[in-house]
Symmetry: C2
């Protein structure tokens, strides 16, 4: 995909033709695109460049959506719990929810599709004890128990698409409220395909159909005042319809209930350990969406156009790590990339498609307004992204939004010029060849495994951080994945099922289990299976490395909270072992890893983790709470870290922890940076060495080259420097 | 009990007669006692004073103990888990345990009384798969699964009493290692009664038999190097014998297993939610011990002597709050008192016995050695204790240990002289009459209730604090009970069973639930019963107050972690609700309680608790974590506090939180201190007002007197001042 012509997709805007022409050159563009809210001027539609045209089919035909409320996107919501004071109770299901966004789905019979629950007794209220009054839109319960809480799980129609709502409320977009239709219904699917066929005909200049994905939006629930009250960027909550549920039952042999979706109000957040029932539903949805998407791609291809998918909006069911993804026939996978993890989510997915990163910030008024500093926001992203680019190849970059807005910030224009120049050099110097990795594959073990690789592994600390812009997903707290995204290791994600069904790949030399207890990341009750524990003990016992961060293997059972506490040599105090006498922690300052625990290292809040082994080496502590420790188990090694929020220093520590776990610390590895702010990547096939400085200061870095010779280089602030080697 | 003659029990020491005579006067003593390690000189045994003589019958006759290893105290220990590498495995049960203290109890058939468990599979290993080899003292397992962990729960004989061991190791006592015998066995009981009858005859000068309690010691497990590895000052772990287990089965109709005692290595710590089986065992032990103790008391009474019980060593089964306690016939209950909670444990128990506080520090070399400051240690205790004395009457005080050691610290002698003077004034000014309380009873709800009132409610933070003397139980961290011990409220403890069986006493106007999740204090799975939740919602709904500290009502079920989260208006983030969108916390600085949150208030670590109600008033926060909040629920009020370690400022905050919960904040309550360092107590029956200054600075206090008149007083550092009123 390397082209001399350019490598960037530039958003266009009617009336800004000269700006576009200028930036097309300066930013080394080779493609133009429209955005939500902008359209392609005819004068730009032709030329020696690609023309991307946005296609979000489920919201493309508003006349159809308005004419067919029965096809609108639906979802299960749980009413907020209401406490009975008496033997009868009235619940208004939509109380607390946005009336602009939701309407009760009265088309589907409430007695069949809704569910009333006594949340105090933990049971379903029989349908004979409640009825829905369509006049008042209330649910009336009888024979309630005073001081019990009750909820109604109901189907809501979504009469305002979440993205349209966001743009109206945040970016002050005018225009009608957009509705989305559900392509599960064959009538909808037929109509949309027809619409698309016509669209293909009427867009001869379009060379790339840029699908704003395909069918179902990520989950955003909106409250009484239209504020976001729940978000799951990778959630399957908005995929439900009675028709699909009926078909599911036929295919899988059992029926899902409203509780499978509302999940006691937890809504199957991606961070939760998924139930098998919910995983079945995801499989069902994936099959539906992939089928629909591949039909659309075929149509585009037959019309002589390439296809792009925007990985981020309606991408539910078409996640690029799913095995079924490659059936769709996408030519260009466009990722919304704000950091290294998002980049790896784009670049690590299998298949032959082109990978294009859509950078933030979007040229929208929320950022591009007087007083804001879009360069600072972009630089923060860019330093993370280019670290990750060193590890896996990226093909293209791009932006979205109003060019006219960006053009009011000349320093931002210069900044993007520099980004694009650096990206061009990167393409030239690397030519899609791999950079050197530390020998030995690293596996990240969680409940999802590779199909949901490189998702942000939320931790609860993040909930207690209010970002400057609350609408932006800014992941602080424990984010070791971001540290890892830019490190020179071969990474794969594995699930507990993988381990049980296929064992551990012999190429894997170290396993990471991390995250809060009771999450899909740490594993929750996946640790209830003794076979999982045995496989990991065996792995480490035979020489493997194990890294735990946060609450690894946390599951209370038979005397242990950390099920692999024997390997780690420690235990977490969950108030069950308070009688165990604590000895003052002694740090082993002679340990290899001790040198990497500088004052810039941040290992989070007190861990409540204490030593429970004679052989444990405590390397860092927060008072008497273990913050970093290492242990030997059989022929293998383990390390525990209490928390590892992203920072360059923490990433550098993680690099050396993994090198130690891989038993490579005595090997004189080439191209290992001695400076936490500087990343190195060697491309032996092109004989180039990349060096990036992620700080705003001049940095010096020392390292060994491929011949074991000591080298030293200096880098200006934020510099990206290339050297010829070999 | 008030006597002009004196009010203190003085320890004696042979060869120190003149010191004794001097301090007898200066410290206003009226009784002499021997201590562990000292004996009563004949010259002091007679006179116008009581003579207390220590009697610890279970360790009194060492010849008998040595002759009868089959009667030694026994307990179940769990071997440390061992991982199988192969299909067979050898476990040495005592590995990791003190060989000086424990021997395997081979008298009881291992195949009958021991249990081998696969801790990875979570099951019992059938006896046919293991055998015990008495030659090697090893357990051999066959058909093991590689990488599973196995444990042996075995009966150990205790060949060295924990207290004797402590004194030998810490205080360098010489002399033989003391063994204790188990009075469960009728032969032992008969022998000890016989021994005691003889002792009574040979101790004509003794006026008070001071039982170092009766039968079973608190739990201390000792490790390989004789170090303490587990402690439970109120645990029932050392009460086991095959004979008792056999009788238990007859009485209760089912058999207990080793697992009921070793509890997966958690050993039924007092902080754990007790199982019904373990509660049955406690009842069984209580009946046994009370029966034995009352026989001994009868014998003492018949010999014309009074009886005292030391509440603290072998007090298992004779806890003074147990209903059966009053059957024993104790005349004087002596409490080991290091703080206000311990004092209330002594003074709040029902019955007509005399309450005597044995103060710390003991005159032992661990404290009374060059470079140490026993006055500082004592003053820290005394300021806490006298706050608590203001709320419930105490009758006597006393000390223990070597007078000769104390006498080497003249400032300590003066300090105790001052304590005893203050105590004498207290007796004179109060004459056992009650001080005024804020109207409305306060109930502390936990899994134990009143029978285990005023035990230290351990929290996990305490595990991570290493006290200056690790052998001393220094309870830091969240200890709101210590705050409460000195506040003017009527306190009772209630259990979940109380609520279920008898409802909530109408005199109770506020309920406190506090502690870590999964503990007896917070309640753990006691919250699984909807009836409990209903009772509390009803209580608050009808106007009651509810205070939660730490993790009140924590139990994950049906959408809530805090089961009373609706009353508190909040929820804890346990990584199940990370998708819920956080709004920045807004404090209500207008709230009544806001004035009490000064910079000296310490509300602990981040709570991970967030608002989940529109009506919630957040009053203090740790970043975005709620630290203190208030809510209205029906006609009642609730308050949540994240953590409340003891300090005078925190106690003062707690006082006003409770006043607010009792809806007394608009009433102009008399004798409420405006100064956190100063406590006030009014005795209307004697017309006296007590004022204590717990700080080392001069303090001024303002308050309303009984006529509503504003008063102001000044107190010197640590002063205790009395005023006449009325």
């Amino acid at each position: 995909m390397y082209t001399q012509r350019g490598h960037m997709t530039l958003p266009v805007e009617a009336g800004q033709e000269s700006v576009v022409a200028d930036l097309f050159e300066r930013w080394q563009a080779d493609a133009l695109r429209d955005s939500d809210g902008t359209s392609m001027p005819d004068t730009l539609a032709q030329g020696d460049h690609d023309v991307y045209a946005i296609m979000c089919l489920v919201r493309a035909d508003q006349d159809f959506a308005n004419a067919h409320p029965e096809y609108l996107h639906r979802k299960y919501l749980m009413s907020f719990p209401v406490t009975a004071q008496d033997r009868q109770l009235t619940i208004i299901p939509l109380d607390g929810y946005s009336k602009d966004k939701y309407e009760l789905d009265e088309i589907s019979d409430p007695q069949t599709w809704w569910e009333v629950r006594d949340r105090t007794a933990g049971c379903v209220v029989p349908p004979s004890h409640w009825h829905y009054d369509p006049q008042t839109r209330q649910v009336h319960l009888i024979q309630t128990t005073p001081y019990h809480e009750y909820t109604v799980s109901f189907l809501a129609k979504q009469i305002w698409d979440s993205v349209s709502m966001y743009n109206a409320l945040t970016n002050d977009w005018q225009g009608p409220r957009i509705k989305s239709v559900d392509p599960y219904h064959s009538q909808v699917r037929a109509h949309l395909k027809n619409y698309f066929a016509n669209w293909l005909k009427t867009h001869p200049d379009t060379t790339v159909v840029r699908f704003t994905t395909f069918a179902y939006l990520f989950v955003i629930d909106s409250g009484e005042n239209n504020q976001d009250i729940y978000r799951d960027w990778t959630g399957y909550g908005e995929t439900v319809s009675p028709q699909a549920l009926t078909e599911f039952k036929k295919q899988f042999g059992y029926a899902l209930t409203p509780e499978d979706f509302v999940d006691a109000g937890y809504y199957n957040g991606t961070y939760k350990v998924p139930s098998n029932r919910y995983k079945d539903w995801m499989t069902f949805v994936q099959n539906v969406v992939v089928d629909f998407a591949s039909e659309l791609c075929d149509m585009a291809h037959q019309a002589g156009k390439r296809t792009a998918m925007f990985q981020g909006d309606h991408w539910i069911g078409t996640e690029p790590f799913l095995p079924c993804y490659e059936k769709i026939g996408i030519d260009i996978n466009i990722g919304a990339v704000e950091d290294g993890v998002a980049l790896r989510r784009l670049t690590d997915s299998p298949g032959e498609h082109v990978r294009e990163a859509r950078f933030y910030p979007y040229f929208f008024p929320d950022v591009f307004k007087p007083g804001n500093d879009p360069v600072a926001e972009s630089m923060k992203n860019w330093t993370k992204i280019r670290r990750a680019m060193l590890r896996k190849p990226l093909d293209r970059i791009g932006y979205g939004g109003y060019l006219s807005l960006a053009n009011q910030f000349p320093d931002f224009i210069d900044h993007v010029t520099e980004i694009s120049k650096q990206f061009g050099e990167y393409l030239e110097m690397t030519r899609r060849t791999p950079s050197i990795k530390v020998p030995g594959k690293i596996a990240i073990l969680n409940a999802w495994g590779q199909p949901r690789a490189w998702l942000q592994q939320q931790v609860r600390d993040q909930r207690f951080y209010i970002p400057p812009r609350p609408d932006v997903m800014e992941l602080v707290g424990s984010n070791p994945l971001e540290c890892l995204a830019g490190l020179p290791f071969d990474i794969q994600f594995i699930s507990f099922d993988d381990i049980l069904n296929h064992g551990i790949d012999p190429d894997v030399k170290a396993i990471i289990n991390m995250g809060d207890a009771n999450t899909a990341w740490s594993g929750g009750d996946c640790w209830a299976d003794p076979q999982v524990i045995v496989k990991l003990r065996e792995f480490v016992g035979n020489g493997g490395g194990l890294l735990g961060i946060g609450e690894p293997s946390a599951y209370q059972s038979d005397g242990r909270y950390f099920q692999l506490g024997d390997i780690f040599g420690l235990e977490k105090e969950t108030s069950l072992t308070m009688g165990r006498v604590a000895s003052p922690i002694q740090k082993n300052t002679e340990h290899y890893l001790y040198a990497f625990v500088t004052q810039d290292i941040d290992l989070g809040n007190p861990s409540y983790v204490y030593p429970q082994s004679q052989t444990l080496d405590v390397i860092a502590a927060h008072g008497q709470h273990i913050a970093l420790s290492a242990n030997q188990y059989g022929d293998g090694r383990s390390v525990y870290i209490s928390s590892l929020p992203f920072s360059m220093h923490n990433a550098w520590l993680l690099e050396h922890v993994l090198i130690w776990l891989l038993k490579q610390e005595q090997v004189h590895l080439p191209f290992v940076s001695d400076n936490p702010m500087v990343d190195l990547a060697c491309y032996p096939q092109t004989n180039h060495l990349a060096m990036t400085n992620s700080s705003d200061q001049v940095q010096t870095v020392k390292f060994l080259d491929e011949k074991g010779k000591k080298r030293q280089e200096q880098l200006q602030a934020y510099a990206w420097k290339w050297l010829s080697i070999g």
